[in-house]
Symmetry: C3
Subunit: 650 residues, 3 copies
């Protein structure tokens, strides 16, 4: 039976060796079996150029090994030490304003600086050589949360090379970027720069290509380290932890192909049911990137260190969050970090061991989860099955982060999350897919605001609907081609024929919009003409009064307005029922994720409400080790993992 | 009969020649007779230094000519190409923070950089030489929306020269700028700089002089091009399109004297009745600058590309906006731009031909307006007559944009717009005038927040009131002299004697203020002592309870508080009635602008409401070509242009 | 009998000599006896390097002297002239972003630049030499409002020296700053910088030490001038005016030991009762810094020149504010400035003589206060007695301005002001003390959010409570040690044993919190475990339902939540009553400050309400010179100073 990973970032260099001994005892008490070490240890490992101090890490790895804990060993390349800044000031990152950043935080490097790339490969080589065969080594953790941006001259050089590979020559770039507008035509490559501060609105195509370039450039840097590490021991899996946010220029679909195990960091910022929905969203996305198997590399035990107010997780939420990830295929539950720091900028980020120590509610919950995990391991080979997929596309996200869109409220991530949230509320399991994925296995596919789409992907979606799949497309889809130029003739460009409509104009509005079905929407409307589709809801009032708002053209559905949750959920239910899917009718706030392996079925039941929840089935509860009756009640805020086969072990 | 211009910015360099052919057909269908070409074409015309590509422009001008469309040919100097940045990095603009901007947007030049000035004159010369006698050429459009700012060392040199011309010597500058405050005394000219980032509040006189200087410097740059173009063909009128906004350091009164036809760009940002009021405001101001004749060079067909949410114009609004401008003397109705761009930062700014193409509601409205214009041309020689003038003064605007004023809500533009709005609501035609204008023709003059005023202008206003004119002055007028130093002895300094009052203290307040007349004001109050005037309204409550709020001293009225619209309108009506003007009593939201030529009278009627509006007169409707009865009903959202003489042609 | 100082900043260099003559007459009419001259006069005194113009200052000092007014002569070092910037561009301050500021405002110098330090000492020497024995000279006013920050390379050098003195070697610095976190370990001193713009969250210990360093460095600069001035005339007291705000890196407790008379500038930003509370707060703090004797160096006669809306003081408030300061031990009432400026950035800051001149309500109130002051002088030797002290600690303030605290609402200043406000509302006189002060004289000590505390100070507070004093500690106290590292084992670290509690987790919340006593709190809660203490209020609702919110452990009280004012006042009353103090039960908004000298008692009575206030005592009123009855009524907005001994003179 496979083992589920349990543990987190372990930073012994912040503590004295006496604390290490206590750490080992507490880790064993908590059931920890994997410790991520070395993530930000460069200055501890190489305090001066070329002078290494491995003693502490040797000792820590040996300690872990002798305590039966495996190591997820990181290369420390996300934060070069201060001496590196002084030796290579040209490798410090530069903002779009031309401010050269200084060390004193983390991630103060330019990924395009040759000195940085050389040093990163160098330290990876030293670590690979020393620890590649260490018996504790379970995994290589390259770098940390790739995603830093720079606008310096090294970046300009690399950006130009990337553009040359993409476009071949300047006329092609000028055409793709519409440089005839505002006299931006380039006549020599050295005139092309990363987006830097300019007088007024920047060029949207340049902005998009810069993010594409950064994703590729960062990936090259990852690959260089991977090559080095692979060389020392080809049996150790190699990964890096994905971070996800509007500022991150990384296309995770492409990166997922380059890691041995997709790993994500996940920190929902909210504290209510939204945090549970966000957790499910992140886990479903990671499962899609990982092709079913992945790992939750970081989560918070309680409060998160973010700019604003830190939300403490109430008792039980940490466990439910972890189970939500595990239910969706995570190979474990890991945390940042083992022990809350005593100093540094993240001293108030919660740890598995809080400042108040192990005699705390928080650490007891950690220990209880640690004891539970081995009992859940039997479910690990079982698979999540979903009949609905949502399309996720980094390029549409980036394109809708560009300048001067028709509304400042356009938010691709929010649109995708809204689609996922409706399905979560309906209790319908959901996958994510790429526009280019084979979608034939799905009964329904949801396409939220796929602003930028290639002709090929648009054609594939048409074929999908022609082949019998239900397809729900939402506003702002199909607008642009991959250069980010608008598709002419009417919106939603690439999907006009498929949807049987033509949109003449966007009409973003302030506030509330009413439809003749009683549905409420907000913020966005469109002047829709029917060209084959039927209207299943119309605008009511305003200048679009009586015009189509939601349409259906055979299997292809379209909403031209931003539906509020109740209206969106009703539409989503209509679509999935048309696809032959019956939502399970769970109590609101009760989440059930089902995994199957042959005839064996595991139901992860999470009750996020403050009331006990009755379920119409029971089984063998892996949590309690007891067989329940035919009906089962999960306590308020509680959880269960029910196996249909009631034998004591799966 | 004169022809009214109809058309807009035409940027064929963004499109393939096949599209050009379609453009010609659609332009003719739409009644277009003027196309503005070349505004941002520098990189298309001179893709490398000294290598010109005129083929496409030759072809376009010939195409236009052969289709009976005239050209408004622009010099492309608002956006030098990328090659120019690399050749002359010192000509890139620098922010007050010292950030040197880069190309990648538009307007990335420093107007004081010798290399820029030379290049701008150079490209103007090349264009003048090649196209000065082209049969399509109707007008030269120099540059685009002059108004860019820079803080570099070239600017410092030019600013010092300007200051030397203004002040002669440093003691005069030190006195005018009150440099004794905070130890800012200058002892050598090279110590004087444009305002750059400093530790705390900047010097308000320096800020004001910098805007004055920029207006003059930009004007010099315009004049240099004008001289060159004039040389090639003295018969072609030369202009530049004025842009208007808080960031624009241009004194349009002075610039208006230097163009052959005042031209403005006008983009109201709102979508309700405020947009109509703003349109009337802009058009009245342009008419004043132009001395009666002017041209609407740019407006949007529907949505505007601004930072925030883009407001679509509902059906009919584009036509009403255009008629509002035409009614007020515009020589035509032009748009930015002919065809909505497929790429670039303004791809979502509406075009006359939208992304959805000509088979759209929007293009049909464009075509209908194009068909209407020739029928309105007969009204062109008729003149708008106004008996009320509002003073507009760029220097008072700039001075009240300075640091540390008594309230962050002080907003000169809003104060002037509020005065205009009351008159618009009353249906009273309004002119704008300068403080130095001859005002004798007006029955009433409104002076909103004329913060900065010369002794001469103040004396002229006194003479105006003495001569029988009604004069309404509002708070914050007369405070400073042209150096922006405070006039001592009590506010409102320059107007104390005229108004028969003395204000001891300003008392800005948060929120609502009540007067004993029931009037409501907000944000601003003053401790007013009567010195000859009578109080016609008093403060009620607060520390000023019972003290005068609105005063009258013979013909000179004063409000010391910011009246809300209903109260302000009531005061305004009192003033205009005192001047012998009777407001016409139109239904609210129905706008009538009257033009006269001898006995012939044209009434432009715009119904901005959602109800039909009955009017107590009729005539020959130039829109429908029909003679109406004595009473006339304009449909909801509709329009008419009624000639009193009912003969079929005027 | 001592004389109370009355006057303000006098800037004759902004005015012509004719105005000076009027100034003398008006000063005498107003009772002015002290004029602060020269604060920003550097460019007037040394218009070019080495060329001095003393004529005007000679004349002004002689004028003052001949009119019986003494001079508080400033060194003008807060604003070097423009010529200095050009001679020493390296002495201009640099922001954390690397922007070098330019002159054009005030305070454009780097305190660590050798050229600045030399020039500052130089001009002090010149002034000391020339005026050290001038008969008008009453006081030296060194510089103005020390507090400017810089991040340049001069600062880096000085910061490293300071750190070397503090930590000795880099390992100690690395440990104190937790540089093992995020790979920030320093291996050479030249790698250490002031905080400059970096990629993400900065190091909190570095931030704190930078403020400590700046306080010391600025103090060194002050001491250098003091040494020079002392040398010319050892009898003249030397001070500098303290400014107080979140941006000021000055530890006033330490600075207070270095001035001959603590002097503060005080500008409450609000206009309601909060302004009175803020005035009392500032005056009590200044009295504490000064050990009883101090001077209000600057206040505003009416409106204050701040970024936002300027609040005018309503009639009487200026007098009540002044009396509030005088009641609390100020040696006088001084203003910025004598005459409102005609130009410059602070032209709208009110003056003793407003723009409207002396024939104004404002100047009449100035004159009345001037006439009253000599009658109050007899109270000057009497002392304010307080039985309660609040701890004030600049380092806790700075530490809670660091990055990534658990809530963006953490606000040390607000927490201290809230404690003071409750006592003010209760009418209980309050001192301020340092954590290291001898507290035995106080019956109760309030410790608001003392985030950072040394072991020694924490032990002293324990001894204080053990010795019988009542001690109220509020949330976020005792969290960190002087390195700003968290004290482990549970919050509130240093005070856990004393308070008999252990806090496991912080739980900041949005909005309202209810306690089982009916008390309302907001924003902050904690999971509190009792370890000896009793709970006197519990949380009600939420995840902490039923857990302790307010605790008491013998004499040591703790609130774990941010109580709203009514609840906080109730708790405060409970604590002071436990200490044997009975609040006087004054009408809300009526302030009485009592000074004693032997048996003689002076009651300063300020009625901040809009109703007359009856008091249960009377006496000889120094204001009116009359003996009142046993009961006394102070008019709405009025004041009295009652001596218990009813003899006509004290």
């Amino acid at each position: 039976m496979p083992e589920l990973y349990y543990g987190g970032d372990y930073n012994p260099e912040q503590w004295s060796p006496e604390v290490w001994a206590e750490d080992m005892a507490l880790m064993k008490a908590a059931g920890v079996n994997l410790a991520t070490v070395g993530v930000f240890s460069w200055s501890s490992l190489e305090p001066e150029p070329g002078r290494y101090e491995f003693g502490w890490l040797d000792q820590v790895l040996d300690l872990l090994h002798s305590n039966g804990i495996r190591a997820n060993l990181a290369t420390p390349t996300a934060s070069p030490p201060p001496w590196f800044s002084l030796a290579h000031p040209d490798a410090l990152p530069v903002t779009a304003d031309g401010v050269r950043l200084l060390h004193g935080s983390r991630d103060t490097y330019c990924v395009c600086a040759p000195a940085y790339r050389e040093a990163a490969v160098g330290i990876a080589k030293v670590l690979g050589e020393r620890y590649g065969d260490h018996p504790a080594l379970a995994m290589w953790h390259v770098h940390n949360e790739y995603g830093s941006t720079c606008h310096c001259d090294h970046v300009a050089v690399a950006f130009r090379s990337w553009l040359q590979r993409r476009y071949g020559d300047l006329p092609a770039l000028n055409a793709a970027w519409t440089t005839a507008f505002w006299s931006q035509g380039y006549s020599a490559w050295e005139q092309v720069f990363p987006p830097r501060r300019t007088q007024y609105l920047p060029n949207p195509s340049q902005m998009l290509d810069f993010r594409r370039f950064l994703s590729d450039e960062l990936l090259d840097a990852y690959r260089e380290q991977r090559t080095v590490l692979r060389g020392f021991n080809p049996d150790i899996p190699i990964t890096t932890n994905f971070v996800f946010g509007p500022w991150v220029p990384v296309d995770h679909w492409r990166w997922a192909r380059e890691v041995d195990l997709v790993a994500i960091d996940h920190y929902p910022g909210s504290a209510g049911i939204e945090a549970e929905q966000d957790t499910a969203f992140g886990a479903d996305l990671a499962r899609a990137w990982g092709g079913g198997r992945w790992l939750l590399m970081e989560q918070a035990a309680s409060v998160i260190n973010q700019g604003g107010r830190m939300k403490a997780k109430e008792p039980g939420r940490m466990t439910r969050n972890s189970l939500s990830h595990l239910a969706r295929g995570s190979a474990g539950a890991l945390f940042f970090q083992w022990r809350a720091s005593q100093g540094g900028a993240e001293r108030f980020h919660s740890g598995m061991v809080p400042h108040a120590g192990p005699d705390t509610r928080a650490f007891r919950e950690i220990t209880e989860l640690g004891a539970l995990l081995p009992r859940l391991a039997e479910a690990d080979p079982a698979e999540v099955e979903a009949e609905v997929a949502i399309l996720w596309d980094a390029e549409s996200w980036w394109a809708t982060q560009g300048p001067a869109l028709p509304s400042p409220q356009i938010d691709y991530l929010a649109a995708v999350q809204a689609a996922h949230r409706q399905l979560w509320n309906l209790g319908v399991p959901t996958d994510f897919a790429q526009p280019s994925s084979d979608l034939t296995a799905y009964r329904a596919v949801i396409v939220p605001s796929l602003y930028l789409v290639s002709d090929e992907a648009a054609a594939a979606l048409s074929r999908y609907a022609d082949g019998g799949g239900q397809l729900l497309i939402t506003s702002l889809s199909g607008i642009a081609d991959p250069t980010t130029q608008i598709r002419l003739g009417g919106y939603p460009g690439a999907f006009r024929e498929l949807l049987g409509i033509r949109v003449e104009e966007f009409q973003p509005v302030d506030g509330r919009i009413e439809l003749d079905t009683g549905a409420i929407a907000e913020g966005w409307s469109e002047r829709v003409l029917l060209e084959g589709a039927e209207a299943i809801a119309h605008y009511q009032g305003g200048t679009l009064d009586g015009m189509p708002a939601i349409t259906r053209h055979a299997n292809a559905w379209y909403t031209s307005t931003w539906l509020t949750d109740p209206a969106y959920e009703a539409l989503m239910e209509q679509v999935v029922r048309a696809a032959g899917i019956t939502p399970p009718g769970l109590p609101r706030g009760v989440e059930v994720v089902t995994r199957r392996a042959g005839d064996t079925q595991y139901r992860f039941v999470l009750n996020h409400t403050t009331e006990p929840a009755g379920l119409p089935y029971g089984g063998f509860d892996l949590v309690t080790g007891e067989v329940t009756g035919d009906r089962f009640t999960v306590p308020a805020g509680g959880w269960a993992v029910l196996r249909n086969s009631t034998a004591p072990t799966g």
